[in-house]
Amino acid sequence: MKPELKSATKRIKVFLRFPPGRAGRPVTYHLVKDFDLKINILRAEVSVNKGELVLDIEGRSEDIEGAARFCGEEGVEFHTIDNAVEWNRDRCVHCGACTAVCPSGALSLDRRDWSLVFSAADCYACNVCLKACPVRALSPGFDGDPIAATD
């Protein structure tokens, strides 16, 4: 039997923003338990003023939609990230400086013609590349905190 289109699984990145005072809610727990989502936390920033989560989630389309509704009811902003990093191809000179710091291999050089290649699906949304780009051709692809993770 053909699976119905709506029950196809998909894997997307999402950006959740918790308003002040909501960071204590176990939202991630509910996303896993109630919506059967496979979650990989790419980035989490929690302070007195805000909470931000960047997640890689995999699940059935209707469960992801359900998760988005649930977040809305909880007062948590739920944004789909189409592109964790916005790549300005006109500005890019294909030098490769960003590939030096990319931990996921999402940014790489095609060694046939030495063009930069960006694979959005592999991106961890860590933002380390933003400041490694000397011509500032990379910018945050979503309205999160653009400050790069540091070690």
Partner: protein
């Protein structure tokens, strides 16, 4: 050994019969035909590089205001420019940072904006003189509203350069990019076998007066670059294994393109500028042919730990550009990822453009007016007292 002269090659260029190939293409030709035959057939090999070159800048002449001003405090889009020349002359250095935006905008960005035809905010003050009574001016300029605007870069096109890594336990931010702790990456900056001075290791054909591709226009080699040091360690093929020769170059900014001149900011280091340079090498004889057919596997450099704060850092290891370009190098018994800072893609494009110019008879070669120094012994800067020698 067959010998061609610059004049014979130029004659062929004028009649559009010159055989021109890039320094990458020549490698396959030599493999197929042998050096002697290739030297006969090929007249010119084009080389190129497009990398960050800090020692760059532009001379500008604004023209005189009415009443005139002898500018001594000069700001272009809030970036300080030299007031140490004549009344309305200035030099804007590529690495000078904006007073309002810091290193996110600097001299290189002013230069790029001028090339792009954008309006640039000029502010200048003066103490006023009898002949130049005006004491301040606030206006906008473009490359078309001013007189001369030419790039004059005191040190470009380094013949080879050290590769960088970081052995400390924190990320460091350098002109060689972001270096991850504990040797987690290696960066290098070269076009390798396509790079101009690696294809003419003893500068037989490149000297003062050599016409070149500079930033999309035709420019010239004007002098040796600063820190020019041909007395470096060389491999058997004559190619230096360390930072060696350098060029000072000049060209008309008004004819350049932002495709080949691009402002850059190295995080927590400062402003720099990607400069596109292409140099044609005449195949005067079989010896020149052998030089231009050098391959990445026969060009070496050393990797240094940039976390060591000393001008005499010990090299960690010697690597070839074939290894560096492969994506990983062996360092301390581990495979470490490598990344370039110089764009090989744009360098290839420049070598191709220069090849087309020459093949179309639009670009003639120049025999150097004078050679560049063949030896040097650069000095360090020691801290001494005023009464010491």
């Amino acid at each position: 050994m067959s010998v061609k002269t610059f004049e014979e090659i130029n004659e062929k260029i004028r009649s559009k019969k010159a055989v021109v190939v890039t320094a990458e293409e020549i490698i396959g030709i030599v493999e197929e035909k042998g050096a002697a035959e290739a030297a006969k057939q090929v007249d010119v090999v084009t080389t190129a590089t497009f990398g960050p070159m800090c020692s760059s800048g532009a001379f500008l002449n604004f023209g005189h205001a009415d009443p005139p001003i002898r500018m001594n405090y000069i700001r272009l889009n809030d970036v300080p420019a030299s007031g140490g020349l004549a009344a309305v002359d200035t030099y804007i250095g590529a690495t000078e940072a904006s007073e309002t935006r810091g290193m996110e905008y600097g001299g290189a960005h002013v230069i790029e904006d001028l090339i792009a035809g954008k309006k640039v905010h000029l502010r200048a003050t003066s103490y006023g003189t009898d002949c130049y009574p005006r004491t301040e001016i606030d206006t906008f300029i473009t490359k078309d509203s001013i007189n001369e605007a030419y790039l004059y870069n005191p040190r470009n096109a380094y013949q080879n350069y050290a590769a960088a890594t970081n052995g400390s336990d924190r990320t460091i931010y350098t002109y060689m990019g972001v270096l991850l702790p504990r040797f987690r990456n290696v960066t290098y900056s070269t076009a390798g076998e396509l790079s101009p001075l690696l294809n003419d290791p003893y500068l037989r054909t490149i000297g003062i007066g050599t016409r070149i591709f500079l930033g999309g226009a035709q420019g010239y080699v004007t002098w040796n670059g600063t820190q020019h040091n041909p007395s470096r360690l060389r491999s058997e093929n004559g190619v230096p294994m360390q930072n060696a020769a350098t060029l000072a170059v000049a060209g008309d900014l008004k004819q350049m393109s932002t495709r080949y001149i691009r402002a850059a900011t190295f995080e927590k280091y400062g402003v720099s500028m990607f400069v596109g340079i292409g140099i044609p090498i005449p195949i005067l004889d079989e010896e020149m042919l052998r030089y231009v057919s050098v391959r990445n596997r026969d060009i070496y450099t050393f990797i240094y730990d940039y976390s060591i704060p000393s001008r005499s850092r010990p090299p960690l290891t010697k690597v070839s550009y074939e290894e560096l370009q492969s994506g990983t190098v062996r360092l301390n018994d581990r495979d470490v990822p490598t990344a370039p800072l110089s764009s090989l893609r744009v360098a290839r494009e420049i070598a191709g453009v220069l090849k087309e110019w020459i093949a179309a008879g639009q670009f003639l070669l120049t025999q150097p007016v004078a050679p560049l120094p063949s030896t040097a012994s650069p000095k360090g800067l020691d801290v001494v007292g005023g009464d010491e020698r």
